[in-house]
Symmetry: C2
Subunit: 254 residues, 2 copies
């Protein structure tokens, strides 16, 4: 028995998200194909979350559980290289390490960090197609950041959750939520112990509305208290979203 | 008669360079198509240079000469917007302005600046596919920069010119040539009064060989004096190359 923990970066544009789906190219399937080529056998893999179609990852964590008494003996560094040689150009293994048998990338994760990137200039950027949302009007960064900070703490996030989710308890804790300029992009960074379906994209939409003056940052706590999706901002498109980092016990979250 | 000067940015991956070619999608043709849609008539355009297939531009300059007594009356700002609405996502008009009738983007240009971008980490970067050359070995930036500076000044660049060119005088002046780190990339920036065919890609290849210790930076003047292409480094692939800026009389070059 061997359990291998892998950190994967991918440009999500060409994929229908992480999850294996019929008749659609998923990150998981393409990864499993490369793994099968490298190890000569197909293995199940477990992911840290389901990312949507078009969403990117700077550090998606997955595990490969190799059952049996004679798991593949390949060293982690060689497996990383073998995978990177076989994966398509929009996917890369950043790290590969043996993990305890009981390690599970989703259940063991203590927090996740997402980024939402916005190119906020009048003219589109030909190098950021599919990599950042284009808003023609420059963001009021102070207002956006002030709106982002309203989400800090423990809240019922029903107002920021797409309808139709099956999750009962919608309480989540946000440890960090801020908007900063990184190079020429405006970047929302949000770290929390868990996220509901579409939550980051709706949170980003709400911050954007606040930055545009369509919504008062100080009114955000009331929107959360109302538990009413219609009061929050729109669900922004997936191509600005990045799963940036997944945290596990022992990792410093802030 | 009206002469319109346009600054264009494009991601060159999907194009067979600037120049119109049979059976190939060129930047020029795609731009002319958008222009025809915007103005209701097809116009000739003149470009500042021929970029190769896969080469990018941050600021390619072209001109649209509209002959006759009743040229299109559309204001430049409206034309810019009309073009950006019609151009594909990997191409954008950054600037649009009326120019003197005699303005010619190639003949009037006093200097050009090119960038060559290198991602120099062991693992590939899925977000930079087609946007930077991947070198697994980190560059020795000091050596690379020292090599780059050897090209400063006025030289016969026969050693850095692809065979088969029809240019007689291969003397060019390099005003600036340096390698710096920009974010996580190593970037060669070279500004000169003109460039021979493949010259920047060969210059970048020579700098790369020097950074790897395969070539002594101090030996570069001898390579230039020998006027022998075989002594310089390899021609690097096009996808790391950017035509960054074109200079005209009145522009400060450094």
């Amino acid at each position: 028995m061997r359990n291998i923990r892998i950190t994967l970066a991918y440009r999500g544009t060409a994929y229908h998200g992480w999850q294996v789906q019929r008749n659609a190219r998923s990150v998981c399937t393409v990864f499993q194909d490369a793994l099968e080529q490298a190890l000569g056998r197909r293995y199940d893999v477990k992911g840290c979350s389901r990312t949507d179609a078009g969403v990117h990852a700077n550090g998606f964590v997955l595990s490969v559980l190799c059952p049996g008494e004679a798991p593949p003996a390949i060293p982690c560094a060689a497996l990383q290289k073998a995978l990177n040689d076989r994966l398509p150009r929009d996917m890369a293994v950043l790290d590969c390490a043996d993990a305890p048998e009981e390690f599970h990338p989703r259940y063991d994760c203590t927090a996740k960090r997402y980024l939402y990137k916005i190119w906020d200039r009048p003219v589109k950027n030909p190098f950021l197609e599919d990599l950042a949302l284009h808003c023609r009007q420059p963001l009021d960064l102070e207002r956006a950041d002030s709106a982002a900070r309203q989400f800090l703490g423990r809240w019922d996030f029903t107002s920021l959750c797409a309808a139709g989710g099956s999750v009962e308890d919608k309480t989540r804790t946000i440890y960090r939520c801020a908007v900063r300029r990184e190079g020429e992009l405006a970047v929302l960074s949000v770290t929390g112990d868990g996220f509901l379906y579409n939550m980051v994209r709706i949170l980003a939409g709400t911050v954007l509305e606040a930055s545009r003056g369509k919504l008062d940052p100080a009114g955000i706590p009331d929107i959360l208290r109302a538990r009413d999706r219609s009061l929050a901002g729109p669900t922004l498109p997936p191509h600005g979203l990045y799963l940036d980092r997944v945290f596990y016990p022992g990792d410093e979250i802030l």
